[in-house]
């Protein structure tokens, strides 16, 4: 067995220099040694691969037509062997992706890993963040139930408010005056073709930049201490990544069991007594838009477009504004305070949105 394996290995090695490749991949030095804090990026890659696999399985049965999307999703849930589990895994996997992207961003922010010479990793990362959110937004429509239809209607209406490009964007996504077959087709293509291709390409670029700059390492410790602790990617960081990935996998499975996906009624252009609501990770924004200052024509543009847009721009400019090489988060009070305020703000607004459900008549 071993001999056969060795032969195959030698065969490949002779042709593509596997040994060098292996050494390059696995022997990446990590300053300060392996850490649990570095697992988030690998977890994101894992979640994405699993979304691709479960997504392809779902596509074996799903029909992206306004007439059949709902029925085919019901069929997946109730008839296809293990269909309920694959769909629920895919659903909870999307939430896990968003949670993990926030965790990864928080880690690199708190560790000051966006600073020189890692600005380009950070910028590509921000695009990846937008892609992850776009995955959530487009995937939400596909089951074509009331929840899907109305969240999309509201979402596209909000997009419509953007100055200059809003009208075009909304018409492009809707493909007609009201959400219908064209909308479903376009969301489907964006969700299963454009975004996956974009994510794969940009994640590759992200990793290429990461390997070029090298990992940032811990934000404190004397140079001699860091040198003493320096370790290779394999085996200890690989081990930590694998354990974290296993935990993520199990957590998603557990959620799929506890709360499997269930559909509301099929989408109709009449909301009835259903109150549109986006996926939970957009709730904080949705709740903020209910504030008085964000009502009216100008207020809506301010809350829905200007503030989130400015926030993203601020994040993009961050490595160029914050040029202080200090990486220790306990010596960067403004950074620590801003991060805490943003996180608590998102949490409080999300809970407020849930409490707000009771007051909708």
């Amino acid at each position: 067995m071993n001999a056969v394996f060795q032969k195959v290995y030698d065969f490949v090695d002779e042709r593509i220099d596997l040994k060098t490749l292996e050494a390059k991949m696995m022997n990446e030095p990590i300053k300060g040694g392996s850490r649990w804090a570095y697992v988030f990026g690998s977890c994101l890659l894992f979640i994405f691969i699993m979304q691709a696999i479960t997504g392809m399985l779902l596509m074996f049965y799903y029909i992206p037509s306004a007439d059949h999307a709902y029925a085919s999703t019901q069929y997946i849930i109730h008839e296809v062997d293990y269909g309920w589990f694959i769909l629920s895994y895919h659903f909870w996997g999307s939430s896990a992706m968003v949670v993990m992207v926030f965790a990864h961003m928080s880690q690199v922010f708190l560790w000051g890993a966006y600073k020189k010479p890692r600005e380009m990793i950070w910028l590509v990362g921000l695009v990846l963040f937008v892609i992850v959110m776009a995955f959530g937004f487009t995937g939400y429509l596909l089951p074509w139930d009331q929840r899907a239809y109305w969240a999309t209607t509201v979402g596209v209406e909000i997009m419509d408010k953007t100055p200059l490009v809003g009208d075009f964007l909304a018409r492009f996504l809707k493909g007609g005056p009201t959400p219908g077959q064209m909308t479903l087709s376009r969301f489907f293509v964006i969700h299963v073709m454009i975004l996956p291709a974009a994510l794969m390409g940009l994640a590759g670029l992200h990793l290429f930049f990461f390997r070029s700059a090298g990992p940032a390492g811990p934000f404190r410790g004397t140079p001699e201490e860091l040198k003493a602790k320096t370790d290779f990617f394999f085996p200890r960081q690989v081990w930590k990544d694998i354990v974290a990935i296993a935990a993520v996998f199990m957590a998603i499975c557990a959620l799929a069991f506890i709360e499997p996906v269930q559909l509301l009624e099929q989408a109709t252009p009449d909301p009835g007594d259903y109150h549109p609501e986006p996926e939970w990770y957009f709730l904080f924004l949705f709740q903020m838009l209910r504030w008085k200052i964000f009502s009216g024509e100008f207020g809506e543009v301010l809350g829905a477009v200007a503030i989130p847009g400015m926030f993203l721009l601020l994040l993009a400019a961050l490595p160029f504004i914050d040029r202080n090489p200090e990486r220790n988060i306990f010596k960067r009070p403004i950074a620590l305070l801003s991060w805490t305020v943003v996180m608590i703000g998102i949490l409080v607004l999300t809970v407020s949105a849930i409490l707000n459900r009771e007051f909708l008549e």
Partner: protein, 281 residues
């Protein structure tokens, strides 16, 4: 020279031990919870909860022992021969029951009182600003009672960390001795303690465990949806046999036939026109 243990705050030491111990034990508890769920037992109530708690005890003892040992080596340069987990777990658990038990009560009281006060403040505001919009009211009220509750919770957690850290210090001072190893050797020691030394063996056994668990998992997993949600039942699509109404059917057919005749006549007319044209040429 001061003992290195004197230089670290109890809270930091307790945090370093308990935070990593929590995450060290977490994946193993997750495995148990997942297997329970796949067998359709809820791990948050009844027998499932009891099973999870009982299994958690040895996991936690092991995790606390492991992380405490590595923290001692890395941060304090101390080594403990003999078991660590049992005594630390025991003290942490007793302190936890005492401090966090009373903390549960205190936070509960703060929440109850805080909610009343918050409601009163909101009512006051509404007195002179009756148009206070609902979204702002919700967030304001939420902040008014969660901030004091969060502070009380934080205080109790800090008290527990402080007390636990004090016990951990006592433990390492009485049962540990300074490690004679250099920093480099110590780093190797604590990292190897947390991550298995033989990578190939580990990866192979890891893969083996995954395969076994996967098989168990798919065997236990129900094929169809285990919990049809009571609120959203699967709509039973009725193959409704429409009642046949002969009169309507005849009328409809007649109307259709008339339409078809009209179409036919129009077509014939057109055709004759065309032939006429051609003849005219």
């Amino acid at each position: 020279m001061a003992h290195p243990v004197e230089n670290i705050s109890s809270i930091k030491l307790a945090w370093a031990v308990s935070w990593s111990a929590f995450w060290t034990g977490f994946p193993f508890k997750l495995i148990v919870a997942l297997l329970l769920l796949a067998g359709q037992v809820h791990p948050w109530e009844g027998a499932g909860l009891v099973t999870l708690l009982v299994v958690s005890v040895p996991i936690d003892i092991w995790a606390v022992g492991l992380t405490a040992r590595t923290v001692f080596l890395e941060r304090l340069g101390m080594e403990v021969r003999g078991p660590v987990g049992v005594s630390l777990w025991w003290e942490g658990a007793v302190l936890g029951a005492l401090v966090l038990g009373s903390g549960y009560y205190a936070v509960g009281t703060t929440v109850a009182v805080g909610q009343k006060i918050a409601a009163a403040i909101i009512a006051r505001i509404k007195n002179f600003y009756p148009k206070l919009p609902i979204a702002e009211q919700i967030t304001l009220e939420l902040l008014l009672w969660t901030i004091p509750a969060a502070i009380v919770l934080l205080v109790f957690v800090l008290v527990w960390l402080h007390l636990f850290g004090w016990r951990v210090k006592r433990f390492v001072m009485t049962s540990g001795q300074p490690s004679s190893a250099s920093l480099l050797e110590r780093v190797r020691q604590w990292d190897y303690a947390r991550v298995p030394a033989d990578p190939t063996l580990v990866l192979v056994s890891f893969a083996g465990v995954i395969v076994t668990l996967t098989v168990v998992f798919w065997v236990l997993l129900p094929v169809t949806t285990p919990t049809p949600h009571p609120d959203y039942p699967l709509p039973q699509v009725e193959k409704a046999s429409k009642p046949v109404k002969p009169e309507e059917l005849i009328k409809k057919t007649e109307a259709n036939l008339e339409k078809a005749e009209a179409v036919l006549a129009a077509l014939e007319k057109e055709k004759s026109k065309e032939t006429k044209k051609r003849k005219g040429k």
